[in-house]
Symmetry: C2
């Protein structure tokens, strides 16, 4: 039995990230879980949406560059911290140890297992929010989270998954099934006219 | 030690959804994990990005309506199935038992614990992909996944989390910490000048 809750967003959990930008000449960081995947392939785009009141927006508009770093569970305190204090009245440039990549205005966090540098591609405007779409220019990953073939092992990242309803960060669980594979048996049986068992 | 992998998208895991639309007068469904959160508040928007070659796009453009349903782990076979066969040559209208909500062209799946009906708000265009942004009009949830106060308990949904690198669906793990709380102690100690311990 279903209940109509009204227009409630249930697109959770979403991946918790730390967005970095240079604002007024100083690196600034903001926890952001309202992220989005735009496409698949190259150029590769991603998005995040934040309220226009945030301090970070100004730096992204000014420089056209930002970073998106993925914190592990180990960094939950610092991640939450940069989500509850504003760069407007708090210097967050010293919270993390930083490193440089390709873009001068995309500050990268050493302690995050994966960091992406992005060039601002466009801004999608809403009444209270801006959705920044960036093209990924480079992705830096800890050797420790890479498989032998150089691809990323998500279980080694141990990402923080945000849920609005419980206002909690959740961990990643175990693998459930292979994509583009689990449904193959059903495809076969339906093609053979056996119907859905 | 970090390695530069080039422009690799590491915005995973992302929530696996089933997007529904009416195409040529018939309900059609597509597994989509490239979703996005746009804002917080009302009107509440969400997005998903899919290749322009998909059959679903036509129906959304024609009707300006679609659904986004959240499958549980129990539905992994059907979810994967509607991701590997195209509505262009396969009738997917019988895969799920459906129900009606507010919008006539947003087919809803009974077997999904949560379903959202969306009105198309705008389309963000990329060379190969379209990102559909919808305004959530109504959200239907199983009584079984609701807490006593009517809010959603994400652990009862048991969502499928998609990861591109492992090409697997993953389960949700355990709660790690409370949001807007875990960082409060650090905020206090930094304000008191104690520095980061």
């Amino acid at each position: 039995m279903k209940r109509n809750l009204g227009p409630v967003n249930t697109l959770y959990p979403s991946l918790t990230t730390i967005v970095g930008a240079v604002v007024d000449g100083k690196p600034n960081f903001l926890a952001v879980a309202h992220v989005g995947n735009m496409n698949h392939g190259q150029p590769q785009y991603l998005s995040f949406g934040i309220n226009k009141k945030h301090y970070t927006n100004k730096g992204i508009h000014a420089n056209g560059e930002f970073s998106v770093c993925i914190p592990s569970e180990d960094l939950v305190v610092e991640t939450d911290y940069v989500g509850i204090v504003s760069g407007r009245n708090t210097d967050k440039s010293q919270v993390f140890e930083l490193f440089s990549g390709v873009l001068p205005n995309a500050p990268l966090i050493k302690g995050c297992p994966v960091c992406m540098e992005c060039r601002l591609e466009r801004v999608v405007d809403f009444p209270t929010h801006e959705v920044f779409i960036g093209e990924i220019v480079a992705t830096h990953a800890d050797e420790a989270v890479l498989r032998e073939d150089g691809s990323i092992d998500i279980s080694l990242i141990r990402p923080l998954l945000f849920d609005m309803s419980s206002l909690s960060y959740w961990s990643l669980g175990a693998p459930v099934a292979k994509c583009w594979s689990a449904g193959k048996e059903l495809k076969r049986s339906l093609r053979e006219g056996g119907g859905k068992s």
